[in-house]
Amino acid sequence: MKILVCISQVPDTTTKIAFSDNDTRFVSQGVTYIINPYDEWYALVRALELKEAGLATAVHMVTVGKADAEPVIRKALALGGDEAIRIDADSNDTYLVAAQIAEYAKTVGYDLVLCGKESIDYNNGSVGAMIAELLDMNYLGFAAKLDIAGGVATVVREIEGGEETDTAALPLVISCQKGMAEARIPNMRGIMAARTRPLKVVAPANIAALTTIVSYEMPPAKTGVKMVSADNMDELVSLLHNQAKVI
């Protein structure tokens, strides 16, 4: 069983977000980039566990991005895995990202494609399902558990207001979230090994983006908190009713 893990590079959550050029560009100077937490803690670590358990023969990881995405995919390599691939394309349009990954996946033939439930920068939660359609595979979103036996996956996943257990034969695309695995910290040996391991750079397929980012906006600033005395909860209720109009 060959597994492909989709790795997205994102700004660290604590980053202060800023835009330039009339709010048309995200300011990346000074930003610390990390592996999207869902991709790292859940998708990648679970893939590595499946390999350690002798169920997977190879774990590959792929990122769609320009050269500046390399440090992050190297970080992923430090956790383990057999091969890292960077598809040399811009990653601003969901369709473009998914289609690039799908084209590459076709050349190798993976039994399992794992991605995160969403990227914490663009919050789309869309790439996985798109890859599934482009590869004509089943898609199971929001998986919190994944086991594999005899070519069949058993997945526990979040649905509205609860959870569901599904079984499906491979090949499959799964988006991963909390519950899947425990986060790992790369050790020194992994970090050293990742330095020398090759990073495969693949030329992008000829695919056009279907969206463009026109501009960014900051949300309106909160006008400041109105403090209410702990002894006067009637006032709070009245503010919520008359002023905020939420009850």
Binding site: I120, G141, G162, L210, K226, L236, V237, L240
Partner: protein, 324 residues
């Protein structure tokens, strides 16, 4: 040319967020000079489908294949493709929920359509087809132009208030050829919390953090939630310590919610927590530490001990409701 919407129901009653999606589609259809067609699956009465007219649907395409009762993204995508072809749809609206996040991207890929996932505004047609969405986990918005001929949008639930109008929709049968291969995912079991409002849909949410001290104190929060008709949520350490179930955990690594009212009790307001809740319309913070960062993100704040403040608030809500 109509605007297409996939609608969801619970045991034959359309969900409020689906009515919101229809209303949203109707706004787009008005701007484009066209009509709205809703697509419904499964067992729903004709009168319920006709009633979607009051929210702006002109027509409902109904497909009854019983296998669709278990959600499956492949089969649902086929249904939507068939509907899109029948209606020559150029714009297709879904919800940014577990169903929409699985179907809409598949549909977009199939139709070679650009996708904006998690829209929080109406498309601006004056400069193309520009849709606003949340980015950076609620820290900013992006305005995205969809440049393809067919366009797919998922709407963030609870973005617009639902207003019932007049009108009745016509209902038509939609035949879709589905094969067993479209249903090759087998659902082994489903466990749902019954009776409660699902957190992702709740308009009011009461949430507790480590400041609640232990699971034995949660009945106080639950009493407030019950009085308000609110769902309950929690911070990550609370779920990690098994004080509360994991599906209640909100934040960067948990759920993202946008209720009208979020009451945070004994939660410090770490940035990773805020990432899941800062889309809430009104935030109330109850904390005993005046320096708690959450106060900076709050609309209303109460400085005090949770175990004293919450019962008083519950009483005040009770009094208010009795006076209504």
């Amino acid at each position: 040319m109509s605007v297409l919407v996939l609608v969801e129901h619970t045991q034959g009653v359309f969900k409020k967020k689906s009515l919101e999606a229809i209303q949203y589609a109707a706004h787009i259809a008005r701007d484009m000079g066209t009509t709205v067609t809703a697509v419904a699956t499964g067992n729903v009465a004709a009168a319920e489908m006709q009633s979607l007219g009051a929210y702006g649907a002109n027509k409902v395409l109904h497909t009854t294949d019983a296998r669709l009762d278990n959600f499956n993204s492949r089969a649902y995508t086929k249904v939507m493709v068939a509907a899109a072809q029948k209606e020559s749809a150029k714009v297709i609206v879904g919800l940014h929920d577990t169903v929409g996040k699985a179907v809409s991207p598949r549909l977009a890929a199939r139709l070679n359509a650009g996708l904006v996932a998690g829209a929080v505004g109406y498309p601006d047609l004056s400069k193309g087809f520009v849709v606003k969405k949340n980015v950076f986990s609620g820290k900013a918005f992006a305005n995205i132009n969809i440049t393809s001929d067919v366009k797919v949008i998922t709407l963030m639930p609870n973005t617009f208030a639902v207003v019932k109008g007049e009108g009745s929709a016509t209902v038509e049968n939609l035949d879709v050829a589905l094969s067993d291969a479209d249903f090759s995912v087998k659902v082994v079991s489903v466990s749902k919390a019954t009776g409660d409002v699902p957190l992702s849909e709740a308009e009011l949410v009461v949430s507790g953090g480590r400041g609640m001290k232990g699971p034995e104190n949660w009945h106080v929060l639950e009493a407030l939630a019950k009085e308000l008709g609110a769902a309950t949520a929690c911070s990550r350490p609370v779920a990690d310590s098994h004080w509360r179930p994991h599906n209640e955990h909100v934040g960067q690594t948990g759920g993202t919610i946008r209720p009208n009212l979020y009451i945070a009790v004994g939660i410090s307001g770490a940035i990773q927590h805020l990432a899941g809740v800062n889309g809430s319309k009104t935030i109330v913070v109850i904390n005993k530490d005046p320096e708690a960062p959450f106060f900076k993100a709050a609309d209303y704040g109460v400085l005090g001990d949770a175990m004293e403040v919450i019962p008083r608030l519950t009483e005040a809500v009770k009094k208010y409701k009795a006076a209504q």
